[in-house]
């Protein structure tokens, strides 16, 4: 089961590269923001899987919980800031 968790972690880490491509080449600011949000959500899952790999899930689940809330606050603050700017970006 540990090898399966390791494979799943590597798979999700490879998905980071796809989001990173969208962040670097995204035509608008919003594409970049949504790519960052996707990396944030995948990072929660990677944190939990690392917790299962090290068998310290009781500690890593709290880290993932805090990271999930901070990720949401960051994206919403970014959205409210860009909403005020008038004209196409």
């Amino acid at each position: 089961m540990s090898a399966f968790f390791l494979g799943l972690t590597v798979f999700i880490a490879l998905l980071f590269a796809a989001s990173l491509y969208r962040i670097v080449t995204g035509p608008t600011l919003f594409d970049r923001a949504i790519g960052a949000g996707l990396i944030g959500t995948n990072a929660i899952l990677v944190l939990l899987l690392i917790g299962f790999l090290y068998e310290r899930i009781d500690m890593f689940v709290d880290l993932a919980l805090a990271y999930g809330m901070l990720n949401f606050i960051g994206i919403v603050a970014l959205a409210k800031y860009f909403e005020r700017k008038q004209g196409p970006v």
């Binding site: 949000g37 919403v76 959205a79």
Partner: protein, 99 residues
Amino acid sequence: MSFVAVIFLLAGAFFLLVSCVGLLRLPDFYTRAHAVGKAETLGSMLILVGLALYNGAALSSLKLFLILAIIAVTNPTATHALTRAAMRSGLKIWRAEGK
């Protein structure tokens, strides 16, 4: 129980892959937000259910379901807030050729 957990984890990994393919391949911001807002939420929830099933009855399983609830509420909300900001800042909606 471990077999059911593996099925949930593999289904979640498939939906995460779908959301990343959508983020790379779809033509404009609104369609990409559609891919990320739904497929990503479903994939994360399936993976969290699989992890909680593997973990068994413990306090950390309860916290895993708390993370599931937080993702289920916040991920579509964040996508909606970004899409509304794009709409109000005047980003054009993509149309197919000749429409």
